[in-house]
Amino acid sequence: MAYGNFLPAKMTPREAAWQLACNRRDFLRAATGAVLGSALMGPFARAVTLPKRRKAVVITFGGGARDQETFAPEGQENIPHLMRELIPQSTFFTQVVNRGILGHYVATASLATGVYETINNFASLPPEHPTAFEYFRKDLKRPSSDAWVVAPSNGFNRIGESSHRSYGSGLGARVLLPKHLLTAATSGGRDYQHLLRDNYETPFYAPELGGSEVELNQLEEILKLSVDEFKAHARTLSSPDELSVYIARQLMRQVAPSLLWITMHDIDIAHAGAYSLYIDGIRRTDRLCAEIWKAIESEPEYAGNTTMFILPDFGRDSDDDSGGNGFQHHRTGDTLSRTTWMMAMGAGVREGVVFDRAVDSTDLVPTLGSMLGFSASLAQGKPIHELL
């Protein structure tokens, strides 16, 4: 067979996705005592503390991790913070299906628009449909300072604002690219190309910038952070995602946006094929998610009125699909790489509840809309009623 080897499927994709969801539920039930949503043993929703404005923080658990390295019994050692601290406080969806293109930029753009985008994953292009940030700002008449994206790579610089003619220009989120800032801050010094490797999917290529990303000279004005402080702190951090979280925390403290989107990416080192580095990335992302939640709980502007979402943009290839190379990539489009999970926690969300029904990646934006009060009128997805 000359077309790559395809294993005959033992189950239909729908059956396989359902099985995956059931496995996740069972893993969680065994490890955390979370209960099935329909049982509603723990219907304790965190109240929204008024009159503060409702806020939402979205974290993409990037660039995708498989159950066997996370929620399965043998993987739980890699996500102690999710398992012990966050999941018990969250509503967990075991079956979030991504039916779109499995490239990180285009998939994240799809999450942000609620439409399966088809833009070139490796080009510096805006999403074609309005983003959550545009709906949010236009419907609620919010200033640009109220919607922010912190993203790891230059390729995400257009994520904040679509090319849609009814939205687009001037209505999007402001975008912070911490690695880009670091590049600018260290220019004239050593060659940091290897450090600032932009995209693990194409590690030797970085797209040109263009968009509304924050420039170095705005660092002090927005984040109240001098270039020297920024550089000094960067020297204490071990990875680009740590830098992103540091910047996000600074943003929360100084600007307190109501809609904050943080894209993690360290796990995607898996594309280099070194399993130990992939595992290190999962463990680091697990820790950083907990740090962000702690920041939310400790920042007066966020504590009590913020809902946090954590979800991967998609998964990674299964070991069973001979067309791929296991954890390394997400190229086969198999069920494992398409079926992920999502946890929601904080204001208005029930704790310790698990739902097995399939929800769609594109459901996130309409759900955010229902929570924050905007209408995602052009999104393909539907609001997730269990969160409303």
Partner: protein, 400 residues
């Protein structure tokens, strides 16, 4: 250009054997949908530089296409015929650049949400082909060996966790001369059952002394080629307008001579260049190189014997170290490499089990210079532990 327009003269740029093979089958190819034909041509165009197992697979597939009737062909390829292509794909020079077509087709299938339909069609076709023209079983049961953990004194986690359920775990192996014993054993197999590209030794570092009867690839010996490749990639990336797709196209056109591998075995040299240009991370991490080389050897050459020895890869420096001065010196990460190699050994076993004759195949993984090993095969009890004292030659004799 559509498949029905195929003529022998259109293949004049193909290498001699490929041209001869394809022109003998043009009537059969004319009936194939365009969504699948370039995938087949991608294999055919490299016929002159393919391993024997790959040539047999191409021959088998073409012979089958010739044997089935046009009505049968319509049924076999019905799924592919339903894939809707655009004129941009039809206008590509898919005869002379089938790989480029396949790459663009892949992107197009993702974009138009036809990937799942294509997968279904491919699975269906593969099943029909396997039934109509089953692959040939190996002349002797295959043997795979993985040597992992070079430079590690004590692992931080239990080894072989993914493989233990499938075989017998030994914890009192006599490690003395272990690598030499294994290399001798595979050389004996190669001498007893000679087959071109049938017995391989892949090393993630510098190859140890071995019998030249083995086909050998090593990360260490490819260092000049890797350096040349990284330099070339950097030059290309710095050119204005360069993007990932364009870079991939340029890399796909590289020939052994472009990276200093102009002499010797052309088939093997082309294979090695592909490991470096198609494998993600193979240029940087030796563990990735060893795993990918093992995978591609199994997939393409379908060897009777494959020994893969993993070596420490360079350490991935954390950001704070990269920001500090004096960071140019390469350091190694033996412990991380052991974790990589343990997973790599599992993947080698999985890939070996995808080949014909899997039920008779054996696999051994050994923690280099230590007493731990795991043996899988028809004669090895699954999920067991043995405290027997034995050297690796004895364990191999129990397995094969």
């Amino acid at each position: 250009m559509l498949p029905s327009d195929l003529k022998p003269e259109l293949f004049k740029n193909y290498p001699p054997e490929a041209r001869e093979v394809v022109t003998r089958h043009i009537p059969a190819l004319q009936g194939l949908p365009l969504s699948i034909l370039p995938s087949l041509l991608r294999e055919v165009i490299d016929y002159d530089f393919k391993f024997p197992a790959e040539r047999k697979a191409v021959d088998r597939e073409l012979a089958n296409l010739k044997a089935i009737s046009s009505d049968e062909s319509a049924v076999w390829f019905a799924g592919f015929a339903k894939i809707k292509l655009n004129s941009a794909l039809e206008d590509l020079d898919w005869i002379n650049s089938p790989a480029l077509f396949v790459e663009q087709l892949s992107a197009y299938l993702w974009t138009t949400h036809q990937l799942d339909a294509f997968r279904v069609a491919a699975v269906d076709y593969a099943a029909r082909l396997e039934k109509a023209a089953p692959p040939v079983k190996p002349v002797i049961p295959r043997l795979g060996i993985a040597v992992i953990g070079q430079g590690v004194a004590t692992p931080e986690e239990p080894l072989f966790r993914k493989l233990r359920a499938h075989g017998a775990y030994f914890n009192r192996i006599k490690p003395e001369n272990g690598l030499r014993l294994l290399l001798s054993a595979v050389a004996v197999r190669a001498t007893a059952h000679p087959e071109p590209y049938g017995h391989w030794y892949i090393d993630g570092g510098k190859a140890a002394e071995h019998d030249p009867v083995l086909t050998t690839v090593s990360y260490g010996d490819l260092e000049p080629a890797r350096t040349a490749l990284l330099r070339k990639m950097r030059e290309e990336i710095d050119r204005p307008g360069m993007g990932p797709e364009a870079l991939r196209t340029i890399l796909a056109k590289l020939r052994p001579a472009d990276l200093g591998l102009g002499t010797g075995d052309e088939v093997l040299n082309r294979f090695q260049i592909r490991l470096l240009t198609e494998g993600s991370g193979t240029q940087i991490f030796s563990t990735t190189f060893a795993q990918w080389a093992g995978r591609e050897t199994l997939r393409r050459a379908q060897p009777l014997t494959l020994l893969v020895r993993f070596a420490p890869r360079q350490r991935q420096k954390p950001m704070n170290e990269l920001l500090s001065a004096n960071n140019d010196q390469i350091e190694f990460d033996p412990m991380g490499s052991l974790v990589d190699a343990d997973m790599g050994a599992y993947y080698n076993w999985l890939n070996q089990q995808r080949l014909p004759g899997a039920e008779q195949s054996s696999f051994l993984v050994w923690f280099e210079d230590h007493g731990e090993a795991l043996a899988i095969g028809p004669s090895m009890p699954r999920g067991t532990e043995s405290a027997s004292t034995a050297d690796l030659a004895q364990v191999l004799s129990w397995m094969t």
